[in-house]
């Protein structure tokens, strides 16, 4: 076992204590967004780190957000029940799409294109069922008066900050759990060479399906939480190709192979978007994505391990040289 390091515990305590000391609403809002998106990005990189590049996660996120909100508005089902239902729905969707992919060895380009189509189709379904979902105009869960635990609606930012922090920590715990499991070795073997892994006795389809379902469950949870926090969702903000690419971008920038990489990516992307929004005002429409896109291309060409990944590599390499 690794020796217990004190640093994460101090950092965790500081993060929990933060909102009680400092409660500027705007900054807390940014922090909450960063934490929720970090969790979503972490769930993407659960698959991404094993070479399973999915552009379908926008679809899972959309399912998480919309199923929860629709159940609440139309059937009065509390999000406490609605979120598990939404997560199950996302997991089932993931299995329907992923099983044939894995069973019939659809990898690489094919897999990316299939998942890309998935997120496009979820977007189309949300738009097509506009009588229920409000289509591209977006959708708002019915508000309760004030904070309401049963409806998972809170007016104060501190509660949301703590919820988001807990979920973010949960994401890191799941990452560590996968990192320390046998599945990690199996999946790494698969990403190196599927046939060799299968010959060595790895159940390729099952292993891939497992990580995909875990990833889809986490992503839909992130979508549902985002919906509950923002109280407004539209097909463009929680589903579709743009959201999927945004996840990929943030993870690539932060670092795909390190546990805090997606978090670093979320910090960079959200701060970038906010700075551009404040700097340019309404003229900023489109600018943030323009910068995202250029950075994504530049990073993939020059720094494929991401910022945190590259820094950690430097730090690790130094003592040896």
């Amino acid at each position: 076992m690794t020796p217990r390091q004190p640093l994460p515990w101090f950092a965790g305590a500081a993060l929990i204590a933060l909102p009680f000391v400092y409660r500027e609403p705007y900054h807390l809002h940014i922090l909450i967004l960063i934490l929720i998106w970090s969790f979503a990005y972490t769930s993407w990189s659960m698959m991404g780190r094993f070479g399973l590049v999915s552009l379908g996660h926008g679809g899972f996120m959309g399912v998480g957000a919309y199923v929860t909100a629709l159940l609440w508005n139309h059937l009065g089902v509390s999000p406490w029940l609605g979120i598990p239902v939404a997560m199950t729905a996302a997991a089932v969707l993931a299995m329907i799409v992923a099983y044939p992919c894995f069973r019939f060895r659809i990898t690489g380009h094919y897999f990316v294109l299939v998942t890309l189509a998935l997120s496009g189709i979820v977007l189309q379904v949300i738009t097509a069922t506009r009588d229920y979902t409000g289509g591209s105009l977006g959708y708002t869960p019915d508000r309760t008066r004030g904070s309401h635990l049963l409806a998972l609606q809170f007016d104060d930012k501190v509660t949301w900050y703590l919820i988001a922090l807990a979920i973010w920590a949960l994401g890191l715990v799941i990452w560590r759990w996968v990192d320390g499991s046998m599945d990690r070795y199996a999946l790494e073997a698969i990403s190196e060479d599927e046939d060799a892994a299968a010959a060595a006795g790895v159940n390729v389809t099952w292993e891939k399906l497992k990580i995909t379902v875990i990833s889809a469950l986490m992503t839909s949870l992130a979508g549902a939480l985002y919906c509950q926090y923002q109280m407004f969702i539209s097909p463009d903000t929680v589903s579709g190709i743009a959201v999927s690419l945004q996840m990929v971008f943030a993870v690539i920038v932060g670092g795909l192979y390190v546990s805090l990489g997606p978090t670093v990516g979320a910090i960079i992307t959200i701060l970038l978007a906010e700075i551009l929004r404040i700097g340019f005002g309404t003229r900023a429409v489109g600018w943030d994505n323009l910068v995202y896109g250029v950075l994504l291309v530049v990073f993939i060409i020059f720094l494929p391990k991401g910022i945190l990944g590259s820094i950690l590599e430097r730090v690790k390499a130094r003592p040896k040289s």
């Binding site: 496009g120 379904v125 323009l290």
Partner: protein, 290 residues
């Protein structure tokens, strides 16, 4: 009641075939690039979108007639394709395929947001109203017929180019074996560049045709981009004939599905069909059984 319904059904079938022509053109462009360079341009539909804006500005602002603007647009998008290859794909040729794919995803972001910043998010259209052709009791828009005919001619030209010219032969040879052809003295870099420009030109042609049917906005690529990818996968990536057949199958499903409900449901049906086909023929419609 029943015979009116049949007329609508027939109309939808014909419209599906007409739609299939343009989709087949797009699928051909993607397949060409995949087959030769082994890269998927996620941003392919966005190249079409830029081409549509090119058409819009040339026709509306510079007052060029449609038939003069179309070749210019094709050249413009071809140049864009070559530029995309030089700037993004060429440095990544030896990188893992996923990185190439994601880089073109970044380009998708860039093109979409560039269009948002430069042209705004308003819907625009060319303002050219082509007459509607009446055939019996069925109505067909002239623009769709034109698109279908032009797409077929475009594909025929590419076919002849690939079969009858030296350059086309070299391109086909490279798609068969990337390593050997370099040893045979073929300049792969030049072939890649030409293929990218050709793929861009096909996107440019598609944009000239689609601009007659669709309103132009920065996200218009999303309405036919995902479906093009599905078609390519269904036909087998890099399989030209498979892509051609799959385009018409898909277009029929979308058109007939749209007949019974909204157009979006046509897309949903097409996707359901796609998933079923993935179970039955995972390597593509026309794949040889191994």
């Amino acid at each position: 009641m029943m015979d009116i319904f049949d007329i609508y059904l027939l109309e939808a079938v014909v419209n599906g075939i007409l739609l299939g022509g343009v989709l087949a053109l797009l699928a051909l462009g993607l397949n060409l690039i995949f087959g030769v360079i082994d890269v998927t341009w996620i941003c392919y539909a966005e190249l079409v979108m830029i081409g549509m804006y090119g058409m819009y500005y040339m026709v509306q602002y510079f007052g060029l007639p449609y038939y003069a603007a179309a070749p210019l647009t094709i050249l413009l998008v071809a140049a864009l394709g070559a530029l995309l290859h030089l700037l993004v794909i060429a440095p990544l040729l030896t990188a893992p395929p996923i990185n190439q794919l994601l880089a073109t995803g970044g380009v998708l972001f860039v093109l979409q947001s560039f269009a948002t910043v430069a042209f705004g998010i308003d819907f625009r259209n060319l303002g050219i109203r082509l007459p509607v052709l009446q055939f019996g009791e069925m109505n067909f828009s002239y623009s769709r017929l034109l698109a279908f005919a032009a797409a077929l001619i475009g594909m025929l030209l590419v076919y002849l180019f690939m079969k009858r010219t030296f350059l086309g032969t070299a391109i086909r040879a490279i798609s068969q074996d990337r390593q050997i052809m370099a040893l045979m003295g073929v300049d792969t870099r030049r072939i890649y560049l030409i293929t990218s420009a050709l793929g861009g030109a096909l996107a440019g042609l598609a944009s000239c045709l689609l601009v007659l049917q669709y309103d132009i906005h920065p996200f218009v690529g999303l309405s036919f981009g995902p479906i093009t990818f599905l078609i390519c996968v269904l036909g087998g990536l890099g399989n030209f004939v498979g892509g051609f057949v799959a385009a018409f199958v898909f277009a029929e499903i979308i058109s007939l599905g749209g007949l019974f409900s909204d157009l979006e449901w046509g897309y949903v049906l097409a996707f359901a069909f796609f998933i079923v086909m993935m179970f039955i023929r995972p390597a593509g419609l026309l794949a040889r059984r191994s």
